[in-house]
Amino acid sequence: MSSVTITLSPRRGLLAFVGSTEHKVLGARLCIMAFGWFALAGTLALVMRTQLATPHGALVGHMGYNELFTMHGSTMIYLFAMPMVLALGAYMVPLQIGAADLAWSRVALIGFWMILGGGLIMWTGWFTVNGAASAGWYAYDPLSDRVNTPGNGEDFWIIGVLLAAFGAFLIAACILATIVRKRAPGMSMLRLPTFTWTMVVTCLMVLTAFPPLIVAMALLEIQRAHGGIYTVPNGPFAYQQLFWFFGHPVVYIIFFPFLGAVSEVIATFSGRRWFGYRPFVFSLLFFAAMSMSVWGHHLLTTGGVPTRFFALTSTALLIPAGVEYFDSLATMWRGRIRLTVAMLFAIGFLLMFLVGGLSGIWIASPPLNYEANGSYFIVAHFHYTLFGGSVFGMFAAVYYWFPKVTGRLLDEGLGRVHFVLTLIGVNLTFLPMFVLGADGMPRRVADYPASSGWQTLNDVATAGSYILALSVALFLVNVVLSLRRNIAAGPDPWLGQTLEWATTSPPPRHNFVSLPAIRSFAPLLDERDQAAGQRAATAGASELSGR
């Protein structure tokens, strides 16, 4: 776009935090907020695991436990995971496509405040007479109506979800508009970096899947206040359809951007171009479309959905997922692999998500779904996809892009300990849950009989959760120490391949002073290859002239 860019009122400090429309500030702000919610939700998980460490645990009562798992799940999904992927997108997409800023940045700012406001309102439910929301993160009606869940906590939860979803919707629209409208000259759609591609499909899914959630929440609140919405025949089932039309795609909305970050990490630290770029892009679009068509597998046991269709689409997800795994392995194959902390987390992401994905295929089968439904098997499955998969991806992204954002390198030694603790913690916490679920332990129970024989595995899971908490604390220590140590990272500490590494760390206000030529999705690798080719040609020529 031909233009002179003039910046108005550059500020720092509290004002910038409140009202900055710059995409980097927005991304950092979203990231810090999301991590704060992650810490709070993780604390709730620790309380739950402590409660389950012994049969008939007395730490919290049954209602208190209901509030804990509701707020834990809701905070993790709506306030941590969704904002975190949008934070990555808001920060990195303009840099990766050579843009100066985010499109409609005022709208994105409104979105941020709606998410933060939604989270705060949701959490004020703890201070109401009947406590926080307690009907689960999907708040099925009639469980969530005013008779079964009295008090304002549930209302605050509904408003919080509504605001967070609307805010995320606005930010996703801005990111997609940025990709469509603000690409640098030469940056065609088939030259977008892999991370940006994952943001394209993520934003498409957000724009499609979030409106039903917003509608479902608005109707649920009307139902609670006045009734008559979901009390009609099949009303509760209609709510479930609306909710899961959002609820399943959101897993992929959370997964795709971390997959994109992992793909960047793998390509960079394998010293190779991402293998099979076009099949990867095509499979992403197919993956996204398929994942919009599988919501009914959450309702298989209701008998109200076509089970064969949803079993087919759910199982078909294997195909694009297989393409992405194949591309990852093929990129690493014969590469010059550097096992940095980011690369370790990327490999951990692939392994942990594989466990989650394969157990997902298991429960996509209707007969097996009937057996596993409502048990700890489901809890194990979705924690392997959401925590084992996505949190590993998040840390891969954080270790990879931290130098770009702050200009400082994270300590690799502490990072390795962080990785090992996370790997041990995740598997100790969630692997026993598969066995517990297969053995019949139901989810969402505050206690279990001593005669059940479930205590040992629950103790292992509880120990694992504390190791996970330790690993997160160690990560925070690493961040603080690394920032204080102040070792400059330079513009490109990893030999990156995409445009964000062509500018300073942290980038200036308008991101780039000049851009390299963009001939592929890895322009910096092109430059290095070209330079290496020229050096080889010069060396060859001088050798010939020497003879």
Partner: protein, 137 residues
């Protein structure tokens, strides 16, 4: 081959339509999964058309040089976001908060409109003053 954003929307729509067709043709003609069958592909096709019409990069490339003003700070926008939350929360906390939220919302909206008008005015003034300084930004 250059692939524009509209093609991406079209491919996305095609995949959604494929899933819908498979369901309709092979499985459950009686099940009204309207989202999958009608709304999703329709929205995606609408997105493709909108992108084709409104967001063609060529249009920007041929546009005359014009200053692009980027506001770093927009307190009114933040106010709008906060006000929406205050209004919704006010529905339960009390009418006073709802009214405060509504007032803040109007204030924020007015501020955003004022910012946009000022931005346009500044862009016009810059174009008139220094047309020769226009360059790629």
């Amino acid at each position: 081959m250059t692939v524009g954003a509209r093609v991406i929307f079209a491919i996305w729509a095609a995949f959604l339509a494929l899933a819908a067709t498979v369901e309709w043709a092979l499985f459950t003609r009686h099940t009204p999964n309207y989202y999958l069958l009608v709304i999703l592909p329709a929205v995606a096709i609408g997105g493709a058309l909108a992108t084709a019409l409104l967001a063609s990069p060529r249009r920007d490339a041929t546009a005359p040089a014009r200053p692009r003003i980027i506001a770093d700070l927009s307190m009114p926008s933040a106010l709008v976001g906060i006000a929406v939350g205050a209004m919704l929360w006010g529905a339960f906390i009390g009418e006073w908060l709802l009214l405060i939220g509504a007032g803040l919302f109007m204030l924020g909206l007015g501020g955003v409109i004022h910012e946009l008008v000022e931005t346009r005015r500044l862009a016009d003034a810059t174009t008139q003053l220094e047309p020769e300084q226009s360059e790629n930004g």
